[in-house]
Amino acid sequence: MSENAEDKAVAAPAQSAGATLTKDAAPGETLLKVTGLQKHFPIKKGLLQRQVGAVHAVDGLDFEVRAGETLGVVGESGCGKSTMGRLITRLLEPTGGTIEFEGKDITHLGVAGMRPMRRDVQMVFQDPYSSLNPRHTIGTIISAPFRLQGVEPEGGVKKEVQRLLSVVGLNPEHYNRYPHEFSGGQRQRIGIARALALKPKLVVADEPVSALDVSIQAQVVNLLDDLQQELGLTYVIIAHDLSVVRHVSDRIAVMYLGKIVELADRNSLYKAPMHPYTKALMSAVPIPDPARRGVKSERILLKGDVPSPISPPSGCRFHTRCWKATEICKTTEPPLLELRPGQRVACHHPENFEDQAPQDTILLSDAKEAAELVPDAVLEESAETSAAVAAETGAASDATTAEKAPAGKKQAEEK
């Protein structure tokens, strides 16, 4: 990770300070637009290193990030979420698709072309131990962006670094200390200070809190929150912890095997998930409430493991583990459609919504097996809601459907 951080930094030597530092993208406007983004890592074998296959880490992503918002990206390990983060920061070269930042195509910009961009897009890494160079002082680490971009901040580099340290809640007098003198949470703050040094527009944070203890995690989450409000930052936060993602995000993208399966506003997603995978993912999160111990009725267990991204399943990639899969799921890939305002789903048989392929009703044998792991209550409820929505002929009335969704029900029970 540090390697990449350094590469990125080194890739941008002495850039004249003349680059425009405009804060022009108004809140709500599209800051970053990604179309059909792909990254395939070749698998090479043998003496001649012939390519024998490819890991389809990211396989056709479409989304946009609006200025001032936080986009959360969730998924299990190996779903390509980190690769996606590295593609949009251009630490990796995309295999296909386009990335536009503020309307400018940056998909295949070279090192020099990316230099002015580096100032606007910064990254916070997961592991605060390996992303800071142990032989550099904190002062050197945080001032590296100024040095590399040739920026002379007002009042001098040292003063600016000390200001940044106090912004992220560290003691400015620790300027000359080394990373090993700090705890994990403090190091993550250092990483954040470095990312903020050049006043970026977009900060991509790859699992910013997953290496931290619970109490420290909350400190960093709150810090990211405060910084966004003060500095008007836009975040892309990649994480596997669904509760953290819900807490920080405005919109959330759920990834499965290199694809976005659902992209929706936080509330719609958590109240009425439409993709079966989203539903399973959310039901699997252990709830810190002993009264619900052993209540299996709402938990959807997925059978087996995530298939290999080297040869992903045909059609819908989730069909091998989905309890609703039919023939069409095996043959036709569902497009990511905006079925409800602000909720895009790629599924033939979405939950909490009208069936997209009602003619196809015969379950695959895999699906029958998978359905055995799904509690009856969930199946019935899902049938009910689908029927209810169908009755409304897809009038997209969120209110009623959201009420019937399990998330809504849980909250109702709480009260």
């Binding site: 390990s77 420290i216 909350a218 669904l242 999160v285 252990p286 493991d305």
Partner: protein
């Protein structure tokens, strides 16, 4: 929860000197200290608890709070290492089924380890030997404690792999760990630790390295297996969600000490220690409406070499300045009973804590 859970796994009174414990597992005033060049690291500093058969104890705390050191202590794995002259200094008593483990003959403890008590480790990839097949490793664990031929042992291994839900166990038994996925490796580890039907199972962060969907599978598996085998389980984790799923009793550790323990419901619904409040407030929750802000614990965990005198949580405690009656701040607070089978170690009076919890903390969670 039900009556049975409350009454079953009694969380015992801090150790009295008399032996003959009635509980299945009783730990009394356990101390594990490591001498280092920088000073004595007091990883565990006076920990007592009891656990009955068929019950689950959850130990929660941050990294460095002594959770894992406790579990290794029970397994007798601190003294076992002969590398270098630096050994852990262990004192206290660990009673398992009427045997005191710390003073027992190491050979005897070795016989118990794996048979009476066994452990699931956090990272299955480093806990499994990469050079041996899964089957060989399970067979070894079985044959150490049972005088059977290889064929019988292999049958037993296949049977266990099947029990933990590995597909085609008769084929997978000959696979190497690298041929298994993360979730399957953890299943294989569980199979290995249960092959001798241990009465005590210690799971040290069994699902931390796993994805949430796989975690759900493994937690269900542990719960089912416990029902089937009736073992006592200690589950160590930093994830309050995981303990809420499994544990009957909860023990919250901070700086090598127990700050609160009691039935899980009590600790979750009526916590009586500011650190437990902090843990609950730090956690974003899916089952509640969106909180505006998390309430983190300020500062960072203490150094185990210089544990703050008095209450270890004092420097981070938001209520450190609350006036307390007849209390010397440098005195370490003892665990006092705050409810039925519910103990907490705090200098604030019980009324103060009750008031703070109900008026200030609980409404914000």
């Amino acid at each position: 929860m039900t009556e049975s859970t409350k009454s079953g796994a009694a969380v015992g009174e801090p150790a009295a000197a008399s032996p003959a414990p009635s509980a299945f597992l009783e730990v009394r005033d356990l101390k594990v200290h490591f001498p280092t060049d920088d000073g004595l690291v007091k990883s565990v500093d006076g920990l007592s608890f009891t656990l009955e058969k068929g019950k689950t104890l959850g130990i929660v705390g941050e990294s460095g709070s002594g959770k894992s050191v406790t579990s290794l202590g029970i397994m007798g794995l601190h003294t076992a290492g002969q590398y270098g002259k630096r050994k852990a200094q262990i004192s206290g008593e660990i009673w398992l089924n009427g045997t005191e483990l710390l003073s027992a003959d190491p050979d005897h403890v070795r016989k118990l380890r794996g048979r009476e008590m066994s452990m699931i480790f956090q990272d299955p990839l480093s806990a499994l030997h990469p050079y041996y097949t899964i089957g060989q490793q399970i067979v070894e664990a079985y044959r150490i404690h049972h005088d059977v031929d290889k064929k019988t042992a292999r049958r037993r291994a296949v049977e266990m792999l099947d029990r933990v839900g590995i597909p085609q166990p008769d084929k997978r038994v000959d696979n190497y760990p690298h041929e298994f996925s993360g979730g399957m490796r953890q299943r294989a580890m569980i199979a290995m630790s249960l092959v001798n039907n241990p009465e005590l199972l210690i799971a040290d962060e069994p699902t931390t390295a796993l994805d949430v969907t796989v975690q759900a599978q493994i937690l269900d598996l542990i719960r089912d297996l416990q029902k089937e085998f009736g073992s006592a389980v200690i589950i160590i984790t930093h994830d309050l969600g995981v303990v809420a799923e499994l544990a009957d009793d909860l023990l919250v550790m901070y700086g090598g000490r127990c700050v609160e323990r009691g039935p899980a419901e009590k600790v979750f619904y009526e916590p009586r220690h500011p650190y437990t409040w902090g843990l609950l407030g730090s956690m974003p929750r899916l089952d509640r409406d969106q909180q505006e802000r998390l309430i983190p614990v300020k500062g960072s965990p203490p150094s185990l070499i210089n544990i703050p005198s008095g209450c270890a949580f004092n420097p981070r405690c938001p209520y450190a300045d609350v006036p307390k009656d007849n209390v010397t701040r440098t005195v370490r607070p003892e665990l006092t009973e705050v409810g039925s089978k519910h103990w907490a170690a705090c200098h604030m009076s019980q009324e103060q804590r009750e008031r703070i919890w109900t008026e200030e903390i609980a409404p914000k969670l």
